[in-house]
């Protein structure tokens, strides 16, 4: 059985993205510390964003801006701007979620004095 690893040459980004996905979910599940869960969630969301942006890249393509003088070239010569625009929105959502999560954590810490899930479950009862 021969393994044609050259297939992976252009797809390394996707491997990294899915690796980060797995890492993020693992951090989310495995840690009992709420702050680490938040970090895992952020890594997971970043991996999704990386995946999306990676689909828009092309070899030797240029910025998708029509020059003022002269006509636009063929579409294949420009990078796809749509995933970038979408991911801007997703990043904003990620930041807002991070803000809400941190605000909740700060209030939890203020009220119960701990970030550990087990401690919190005990103290909340």
């Amino acid at each position: 059985m021969s393994l044609d690893l050259s297939v992976l040459a252009g797809e390394a980004v996707y491997l990294v993205a899915f690796g980060l996905l797995a890492l993020g979910i693992f951090a989310l599940i495995a840690h009992g510390n709420l702050m680490k869960k938040v970090i895992g969630l952020t890594i997971f969301q970043t991996a999704v964003i990386l995946f999306f942006v990676a689909t828009s890249a092309k070899w030797q393509a240029t910025l998708p801006i029509v020059p003022e003088a002269g006509a636009a070239g063929p579409a294949a010569g420009y990078m796809n701007p749509l995933p970038h625009a979408l991911m801007l929105t997703a990043i904003v959502v990620m930041v807002a979620t991070l803000g809400v999560a941190l605000a909740l954590l700060v209030r939890l810490h203020r009220r119960y004095g701990s970030f550990e899930e087990d401690d919190l479950l005990d103290r909340v009862e």
């Binding site: 996905l21 997971f44 969301q45 999306f52 689909t55 959502v93 954590l105 209030r107 009220r111 909340v124």
Partner: protein, 498 residues
């Protein structure tokens, strides 16, 4: 002009009012809730007008920004989305009026933040319902979720932990959904639902399609609160401020169910759901499991709100089962259940909040003598309980009837049995609630002796009015169910079918 811009106005009105509230609040903090309820009422009126417009003239397509689809974002009002939009807007207006009447101290903070978040939630839910673009759906899902996280967390104490759990699970679900949408985009190059439906058959052979669809269904499943993805729901509904639960419980999970139905039937098509994949069967089993799990867990609860939360998981199972069976009758039943459950769960949670205010708590033991102290509230509770159990003419009977028809005519006797079992479970736990509410405690364990001296002290009129409106709605939905189903839901159920 309003007719032309109607789909956009459904989002614009609550959004604009919500954004303007912090500025309004500087003028006078007493303007906040009335402005909120007014915005909700306008949205509800527009949504109902939208239903009639769609029935008269066919689906309404609106290209945001003037860019035609598939390049631009499209808003679509067809029978299904107009129906769900009307339900969401109308019930949410009652919830906003209830929240305003309750005047929960948790939401009262300066700067008008609480009501503004409620309006943002309403705007986002309307956006989820009218959008015709997959990524736009994600954006609105997240806006709704963010408003929900903050609103739940306003309860303090245990609500913080409940909200945190929802933050983690909800964001996870949304990210799964986004990943699924990304895979579909990479396959077909479009995000517009109608365009995707046209291009998907060409790409259907790819192994990415089941992965993408699975991710999307999982993401929406978390948002819907269907077992086994319901972990966030009981705590969130139990510990959030009563005004917030009143806003969330009737409609928030239903819009996710609508999104699922929309993607399944308008984008993928019924043949994909039933024949080309295990999706229909898997959803039906998930729904059935949810009915049983939610019902059994509800039996064991001693707190009214937690009981109602598990009951919500169970009722969501009916909707998912109906979607999974994907026959004309089961879909009509599922969509009718969206309306009925919104009305009856809304009514029940309104009662729970009012009881908490007057009787001091929501444990079942605290509800003793409620029928003496709060007669109107108890009457509404009884109406809602009858609907939950499935006794005509209350609406709940009819949605279960259509679901049962759908299960029987497609030969799935197991699901018919589950529907009946779920009804039995609902009988048991609702009668448990009614027993605590309507029976006098024996003299020996009459710890609430103080209640005997307090006369009737029902909830204030501002709280009672939305409650009674919902109770009347439950009965009206039952009486007029035939015209709703034949006039509107058959059209909605035919979206993507056949």
């Amino acid at each position: 002009m309003i007719r032309h811009h109607l789909p956009a106005l459904l989002v614009v009105v609550p959004l604009g009012t919500g954004l303007a509230l912090p500025l309004l609040a500087t003028l006078s903090s007493r303007l906040a809730w009335p402005a909120t309820v007014a915005a909700g009422a306008v949205t509800a009126a527009l949504a109902v007008a939208g239903v009639f417009q769609v029935l008269a003239g066919g689906p309404v397509h609106y290209a945001v920004g003037g860019w035609p689809p598939p390049w631009g974002i499209e808003l679509v009002l067809d029978p299904l989305s107009a129906f769900v939009a009307a339900v969401v807007a109308a019930v949410s207006t009652c919830s906003l009026a209830y929240a305003g009447g309750l005047d929960d101290p948790a939401l009262r903070g300066r700067l008008g933040g609480g009501p503004a978040l409620c309006l943002l939630l309403l705007a986002a839910m309307m956006g989820i319902v009218v959008t015709g673009d997959l990524f736009n759906l994600f954006v609105f899902l997240e806006v709704a979720a963010l408003a929900t996280y903050a609103l739940i967390g306003a309860g303090g104490g245990r609500a913080l932990l409940a909200s945190f759990r929802y933050v983690i699970l909800g964001s996870l679900g949304a990210s799964f959904y986004l990943l699924g949408v990304g895979l579909l985009y990479a396959l077909t190059g479009t995000l517009n639902m109608a365009d995707l439906a046209a291009r998907l058959p060409a790409a259907e052979a790819s192994r990415l399609v089941p992965v993408a669809v699975g991710l999307i269904v999982m993401g929406l499943g978390i948002k819907m609160g269907v077992a086994p993805l319901h972990g966030w729901l009981p705590d969130a509904y139990t510990y959030a401020p009563p005004a917030v639960v009143a806003l969330l419980a009737p409609v928030a999970t239903k819009v996710a169910a609508y999104a699922l139905a929309r993607i399944l039937f308008s984008v993928l098509g019924v043949s994909f759901v039933l024949d080309a994949s295990v999706l229909g069967g898997a959803l039906a089993w998930l729904g059935a499991g949810s009915i049983l799990v939610g019902g059994i867990m509800a039996l064991r609860q001693d707190d009214l709100r937690r009981l109602l939360a598990y009951s919500s998981v169970s009722q969501m199972g009916y909707i998912v089962l109906g979607i999974g069976l994907a026959t004309a009758n089961s879909l009509a039943g599922a969509y009718l259940h969206i309306l009925n459950h919104a009305l009856m769960k809304g009514c029940l949670f309104f009662v729970a909040g009012a009881a908490a205010l007057r009787l001091g708590g929501t444990a079942l033991a605290d509800l003793r003598r409620m029928h003496r102290l709060m007669p109107v509230t108890t009457a509404c509770l009884v109406v809602a309980a009858l609907s939950m159990v499935g006794i005509p003419p209350a609406g709940g009977f009819f949605s279960k009837w259509y679901l049962l028809l759908g299960a029987v005519e497609s030969g799935h006797w197991v699901f018919a049995g589950v529907i009946l079992a779920g009804g039995l479970l609902a009988v048991v736990y609702m009668f448990r609630v009614l027993e605590h509410v309507c029976l006098e405690p024996r003299a020996a364990d009459d710890h609430g002796g103080g209640h005997a001296r307090v006369g009737r002290k029902d909830a204030s009129p501002a709280v009672l009015l939305p409650l009674v409106v919902l109770a009347v709605g439950i009965v009206a939905a039952g009486i007029f169910n035939a015209s709703i189903v034949n006039g509107l839901l058959r059209l909605a159920a035919s979206v993507g079918v056949g």
